[in-house]
């Protein structure tokens, strides 16, 4: 048999703990002792022996914050082999952290090493303004993180200039940036006919912001699988 399916989309060489297969599939090399947190339902295939546990004890302590609505339903993956993850055809971004901290939007987290320090935080100010909560997963340490982005993302350097981001388009930002909610619409704009751009988050400091080209308004399938 011959064709592009066989020529170009076949298995690729193992490079690192995490890599991308094409632009929309994350490939994770699983080893004993290197557990992974992955989004529930994101597994599309695996090779080898991998166990999934959708309600691991490590996550229970966080259960209360998820109960409030938009959260990060995660599962643990343990075992040995190759694990392929994807989230509804979104682009996958793989990041290798070297000690930095990254705050990832709960909708955009795909997987991360269980050895990383992590926690869930509510993004300050957002809920007060727009009425919807926004949870981020803050990850810090040395290891690998996979995020998703609806469409090709852009990384904006906040050192150049303060950067304002539509909260619906925010994917991730360096932990430790100054976050300042900003309302651009005048008060009159809030009633009836606004510009559609009433609230943004302003970021400034040493770091970057990753933005996706979509205002993901629809609620994600927060519980799946």
């Amino acid at each position: 048999m011959q064709g592009t399916l066989m020529d170009h989309f076949g298995q690729t060489q193992i490079m690192d703990r995490m890599s991308r297969h094409g632009s929309k599939i994350a490939k994770v090399v699983m080893q004993p002792g290197q557990d992974l947190f992955a989004r529930v339902g994101s597994m599309i295939a695996y090779e080898g022996l991998i166990d999934f546990n959708p309600q691991p004890p490590q996550l229970r302590r966080m259960a209360s914050s998820w109960a409030t609505g938009e959260g990060v339903p995660l599962m643990t993956a343990v075992g040995q082999g190759l694990l392929y993850l994807a989230d509804y055809g979104k682009e996958v971004i793989v990041v290798q952290l070297a000690g930095e901290g990254l705050s990832v939007n709960g909708k955009n987290i795909l997987a991360f090493d269980a050895t990383l320090q992590w926690g869930i935080e509510r993004v300050r100010g957002v809920s007060m303004l727009s009425g919807m909560g926004m949870f981020n997963v803050v990850i810090r340490g040395h290891g690998w993180v996979a995020m998703t982005s609806k469409g090709n993302p852009v990384m904006l350097d906040t050192r150049e200039a303060p950067t304002f981001v539509d909260t619906d388009a925010l994917v991730a930002y360096t932990d430790g940036l100054q976050v300042q909610p900003r309302r651009t619409a005048r008060l009159g704009g809030l009633i009836g006919r606004g510009s559609g751009e009433a609230f943004q988050l302003g970021f400034s400091g040493q770091g970057f912001v990753v933005v996706q080209p979509s205002e993901d308004e629809r609620p994600n399938f927060s519980v799946r699988g």
Binding site: H8, G22, E91, W144, N152, V154, L156, A161, V165, E197
Partner: protein
């Protein structure tokens, strides 16, 4: 009908012609230049593993006569006859190339074409000019290649060296001068010849012909040059990765051409790679994966902001950056701002009373906002593909659902195509004209069809078209949707009639 190919375009040959007995004509009009036109029969690794399939003036036909050189005729500088079913299975590609004999540059081509004629009528033509090239001395014009079925690809790549370098790049070897008869050929056949730059070591004696087999010069007997299949595989790595070997004879090759991935997203500057690389790392094939660099900033560097180039900059296929400060404000779809840097205000844009009326009437109201101030604004909407169109005073008709943003200097107007066949009595659209740019949003990679004959487009997939064409509703062509139960069945095709320069854009998604 003649299919006009443009540079980089590919197609299945069956879409061009059902025939397999092809006349191929190549014309090169270049004052003062003499051309050697040749055809390389390459194997699966893009190597000339069998010299007998290098068809040129000294070897006018392949052994089983599947490729024959016919000479100058009918306005063609050189012509070939190719009988595809006779081409042996080991030959995967027929590359048609032309090289300048003597001094000169390919930019001197005033006009040229590659055409396929079947049964006396021309079916395909790829025209090119010297503007496509610079100082190259050879041109790879067109490929016929096998990928499941035979396909044709308008390559149009210049090549810095002359014919000798071209042959070397395909894995052949050349003596600088037509060799004195047999004796030298026998001696050079076993080791790297003096003039060659190949670096791999001379093979052990049992490999009879070695890597440096010679081009047949007139007096040589081709069968003695037949190389075993092991030879190309030995030499293949050196060509397969043009960056790796220190002195492989292909360093001047255009990037991507020699890579052994026949044509999928590589050599063709296909959609997503064309605009000066600005589309970013989106369409990565799994086979081209790159390792991720350590460090968050480094890992994310493929997504770095692209440098501003003018007022509108394409960040990637789905994101557009507009730089505000000088020039007019920008009108953008409400809610399409994803990020900005600087001091920018977003205001509700009233369309005015007349606009409101039109809105009510047509349902084509644009929900816009004004972006003003100073800074850079990133615009996107629902991960749709974005395309910046500079109008330059011309006018474009566009369906409202495909507008993302435009300069406020542009003039917009609601227009209507009347037909009793359309529900509501007519098709409303926007005509945009003036000086400035408009960002067109499509779902999926669109297709731009030149209107040279009657062209039909589904109303629901139609994105934009040049104004000035005669547009009518086609009642005969009822293609889509009606076969499905439950649909209203009222999907209509529009027929466009226009002259040179008019085009229609459709998207692969019917709203």
């Amino acid at each position: 009908m003649v299919q006009q190919f443009s540079r980089g375009q590919k197609s299945q040959l069956s879409a061009v012609t059902p025939g397999t007995d092809l006349y191929i004509g190549i014309a090169l009009n270049a004052p003062g230049l003499t051309w050697d036109v040749s055809c390389f029969g390459l194997d699966a690794n893009d190597k000339l593993s069998d010299d007998r399939y290098f068809i040129f003036f000294n070897q006018p036909k392949s052994p089983e006569e599947s490729v024959q050189l016919l000479g100058e005729q009918a306005g063609d500088t050189q012509s070939f006859r190719v009988t595809l079913e006779k081409v042996p299975a080991s030959i995967h590609k027929l590359a048609f190339c032309a090289a300048i004999d003597g001094a000169g540059a390919a930019s001197g081509i005033s006009s040229g074409y590659f055409r396929i004629v079947v049964g006396g009528s021309e079916v395909m033509r790829y025209a090119f000019t010297g503007a496509d090239f610079t100082s190259e001395r050879a041109v790879m014009i067109c490929d016929l290649y096998r990928k499941g079925v035979w396909r044709v690809s308008a390559v149009g790549q210049g090549f810095a060296g002359g014919l000798a370098e071209l042959i070397r790049s395909f894995g052949g070897d050349v003596e600088d001068e037509p060799a004195p008869p047999l004796a030298p050929a026998a001696s050079t056949g076993f080791g790297p010849p003096l003039g060659a730059t190949q670096t791999f070591a001379p093979p052990p004696a049992p490999v009879a012909t070695g890597p440096a087999y010679s081009k047949p010069s007139p007096s040589q007997v081709p069968p003695s040059q037949v190389s075993p299949p092991s030879v190309p595989s030995a030499s293949a790595p050196a060509y397969a990765q043009p960056v790796a070997p220190p002195a492989a004879p292909v360093p001047v090759q255009p990037p991507g051409y020699g890579q052994p991935q026949p044509g999928y997203g590589q050599q063709q500057p296909g959609y997503g790679q064309q605009a000066s690389g600005g589309y970013g790392p989106a369409e990565v094939l799994p086979s081209q994966a790159q390792p991720v660099q350590p460090g968050a900033m480094n890992s994310l560097s493929p997504y770095r902001e692209v440098p501003t180039a003018g007022r509108w900059t394409q960040q990637n296929g789905k994101l557009v950056k507009v730089t505000l400060g000088q020039g007019p404000d920008v009108l953008a779809l409400r809610g399409s701002m994803v990020a900005y840097q600087g001091d920018v205000d977003f205001d509700y844009k009233s369309a005015g009373l007349r606009g409101m009326l039109e809105n009510k009437l047509t349902g084509q109201g644009l929900k816009l906002m004004t972006c003003k101030g100073r800074g850079e604004v990133f615009l996107a909407h629902d991960a749709g593909d974005l395309h910046i169109v500079e109008l330059n005073g011309q006018s474009l008709c566009i369906s409202t659902r495909n507008i993302l943003a435009f300069d406020s200097t542009l003039h917009t107007e609601v227009k209507r195509i009347e037909s009793p066949g359309i529900p509501g009595g007519g098709l409303f659209h926007f005509e945009v004209s003036g000086q400035g740019s408009i960002v067109v949003m499509t779902k999926g990679a669109p297709m731009t069809l030149n209107v040279a004959g009657p062209t039909f487009a589904d109303m629901n997939a139609l994105v934009a078209w040049t104004s000035g064409m005669r547009v009518s509703v086609s009642t005969q062509v009822r293609i889509s949707r009606q076969i499905y139960a439950g649909s209203s069945g009222e999907s209509l095709a529009l027929q466009f009639m226009g002259f040179q320069g008019h085009f229609v854009v459709v998207q692969p998604y019917e709203v």
